[in-house]
Subunit: 501 residues, 2 copies
């Protein structure tokens, strides 16, 4: 529990760190702590105040947001099933050890659970490592599966841009020993299908290969030991200009300026089959075994993508690196391009919405005998897609229904609660989606208003006369037309009127 | 990281605790630690060995298990939507403070996250407290929502009986100020519909009311301060005989033997409207304001349940207590009764599969001004339902398909990979669920076998002759019949053959 003394001490810590020009990450951490403590004591009041919020970097989904989320999930799941994928699920946490050594510099972002006796656990950071653990544990050497679940990263959230600490990943992976590039091409086809279906505007899928990157580093004179760290510098090229990346390579990472400049020439290149052909002739790259292998496979990949008819949106891009340690072959990332809709463009920063690649060594890291299972997969990052669609819905003022209720059971007079309950039970038992107001004697106007607000299309009205006549008055909310329907035909009539054409 | 010295020290701790006849929970905890450490160092080898497993009390879901899970979810979601519920989602963790003081004695089972700087977080223990936090935070006073998500409890898992540390809850709740017992009756109707739909065999829904319990405790001479602890003793009556519960009340909790015996008379009672009427005349209970209120509402509830036609499976049961602190009115719990199927009965212990009740004070605990939002809800505990259905599937040898693939694109000769890829892209783009083997030159036999194994009903075979003739050979896997279909009619033909009647 924070108090004022503690807050002052923390403020002093932050001041000192800033003065000392400490590591920005550390300063940020201490500032966050300070804000936290301030929030806890509620400003200057010096009193503990309960803060009514979700944890930093997380959010609730309201019914309206859920309706949008369901649409996106449906599009994605439909696509995964179209490609014959099975589905699995794994626990939200793993043994801490399972995640150790898989994520390179990003490992610091893993959420650990408190040691409360028993095993040391961490929240999953992605769905790929749990998938590899699942394969090794169950000795599965051949599967095509999807998995949609939340993952957790103690990152600096930028929620307005769709960056959260708890967020969904939608993963599709193909595991097994197959002929080269056929599953890899299917993964790219899937990204293409999903982004087209969701109508998010124009997009581009950048493709590269870890072997081409490593070969390029080798011919540029990067020492073996610096491959991974130089790779993560290259990965920043989508957010930083080359000059800054270069100075990180030379200044922070101790690369020779010549090597950096050499890399600089390559990473500007992007294109299609023509570029691949050109690089296969490149006097240096073509001498490097890894690069040659990678380029050969890239050529094959582009041939398959041509058969799929999707090369128009694919770019072989030598600046694409991807941060994670476990990739071994093809890597790719899909980005949304300039939106046509200016309104949306202003408020949502456009960025990466899918990524993936080949990771042939990961399952072997879990197998006691190191047996490898080659894998390739794609992960759709749907939080950004949500952000875009949500803002689009806001802008369009489209009305989204959050329930599927077909009919409200209402009464015209008082003292008919029992009759309403009897009727609604009949409807429920027949599979009709029905609601009733939880009031003994609701006004008819209130009941009709409820339908208007929630988009219920029909009202079944019971009144004394109707009960005597064995009918129910069925009202169409939109047209206000009312007809008497015999009670025994009511279910059929509601079904008919609410079935989608 | 454990080493042998640490293991020996831990073994000594356990030995000492046992000698001292320490608290069994503590011994169990230390034994668990010891086993953990032993597992880590890999028995006697003294070497660290990585353990390939999911965390204790958790499991993966295989594609087959997922197929069963989807069926259960569908039945439950269909029911929730039939009753007009919206859906929300909340983060998997909450501020630790949000969960504090809501669960009584069960609070010790909450998973905390490690303090890595920033907020103190805990994994959610149920979906009810996050729901109440959501309502207070968004100032919502009126909603009917469902929420299906995993919750976390550091309990002693008994996985064969469907008890896990990570498990799903399917919650439906109605929040708002309404006329008494109408939403409460709907919750019971929902449990009745779901358990009937899932065909789990006979079931019984026990109902009671916290006010009746508290009134009963008062007239039996239980001091106010002991209400909650005596209530949690009563809650054990489904697992322990009365004699043991009585001795806990008197021995451990210091209740007078007379009061205990008095309680003993009441908690044996169960029945329907007749029992409620009888207790309304009970000379002692009828003098207690709380009990009288509770009994009055119970009578109303049974009247509504009669209108719903479901009293046959409902029992007013004075021994039902429910452990959680937050209930304020009606409480209920559904149990499966003796299964007809002996095979299943042997392996699955039958128990509670749904529970819930009214909690009118919980939202107010989160509101800065203490504004109350009355709520009533039900939680379906689907892990036990899974266990039962899973074992039923195993026993029946029913074959469950784990994909929805309609057609395999195959080739009869070599060197037709390109043609297969072109054809499958056409099918995918037309929305057909299609697969292709990831081999350059697969044998036709292997392709047909793959269909047999995975249940794919159709094979579209491309061969040189077919390509010349502009046709595709469509084979029905079950009947082995083959017909040539013009390429432009293929999509239509596949759709027709695989549409469900």
């Amino acid at each position: 529990m924070a108090d004022e003394v503690a807050v002052r001490a923390q403020a002093e810590t932050v001041r000192r760190l800033k003065q000392d020009k400490a590591d920005p990450d550390e300063i940020a951490k201490e500032v966050a702590k300070l804000l936290e403590m301030k929030a806890q004591i509620g400003g200057d009041e010096g009193k503990h105040k309960f803060v009514l919020k979700t944890p930093k970097g997380t959010r609730d989904y309201s019914p309206k947001q859920m309706a949008i989320r369901e649409r996106v999930f449906n599009a994605i799941i439909t696509c995964f099933k179209r490609h014959g994928a099975e589905v699995i699920d794994t626990p939200v946490f793993e043994l801490k050890e399972t995640l150790t050594g898989k994520y390179g510099e990003d490992s610091k972002l893993i959420y650990d659970l408190k040691d409360q006796g028993g095993e040391l656990l961490s929240l999953r950071y992605d769905l790929t490592v749990p998938f590899a653990r699942y394969l090794a544990m169950n000795k599965i050497t051949n599967i095509k599966r999807y998995h949609i679940a939340k993952v957790y990263r103690r990152d600096n959230p930028a929620m307005t841009r769709g960056r959260y600490r708890e967020f969904y990943q939608c993963d599709f992976d193909i595991a097994g020993q197959f002929d080269p590039m056929i599953p890899d091409a299917e993964c790219l086809k899937i990204v293409h299908e999903i982004l087209s279906d969701l109508q998010l505007g124009d997009f581009l899928i950048k493709v590269n290969d870890r072997r081409i990157l490593d070969g390029m580093f080798a011919v540029c004179g990067v020492p073996d030991s610096k491959f991974r760290t130089i790779c993560s510098s290259v990965d920043k090229l989508d957010k930083m200009p080359w000059e800054e990346v270069r100075s990180e390579m030379v200044g922070e990472k101790g690369l020779s300026p010549e090597a950096a400049d050499h890399i600089g020439e390559y990473v500007q290149l992007h294109g299609g089959l023509d570029l691949i052909e050109r690089l296969l002739q490149d006097p240096k790259l073509s001498q490097n075994k890894l690069a040659k292998e990678g380029l050969g496979d890239m050529k094959l990949l582009f041939e398959y993508l041509t058969l799929f008819g999707i090369t128009g949106k694919i770019s072989f891009d030598l600046s694409l690196a991807r941060g994670l340690d476990y990739y071994t072959g093809v890597i790719f990332e899909a980005v949304l391009l300039q939106q046509e809709d200016d309104h949306v463009e202003e408020s949502v920063s456009v960025g990466s919405v899918a990524g993936g690649g080949r990771y042939d060594g990961l399952v072997g890291m879990f197998d006691p005998k190191g047996r490898k299972v080659p894998c390739v997969g794609v992960s759709i990052g749907i939080e950004r897609i949500f952000s875009i669609l949500e803002q689009r819905v806001e802008a369009s003022e489209e009305k989204i229904r959050t329930t599927e209720t077909q009919v409200l059971v209402a009464s015209a007079q008082k003292k008919l609660l029992e009759e309403r309950l009897k009727l609604i039970a009949e409807l429920w038992d027949a599979g009709i989606k029905a609601e009733v107001l939880y009031k003994k004697n609701p006004k008819l106007l209130n009941q009709l208003q409820y339908c208007e607000e929630t988009g219920i299309p029909l009202v079944a009205i019971v009144g004394e006369q109707e009960l005597k006549d064995g009918v129910v008055k069925l009202r169409d909310v939109a047209t206000r037309e009312e007809v008497n329907v015999r009670r025994e035909s009511l279910v059929e009539e509601i079904r008919m009127r609410t079935s989608r054409p």
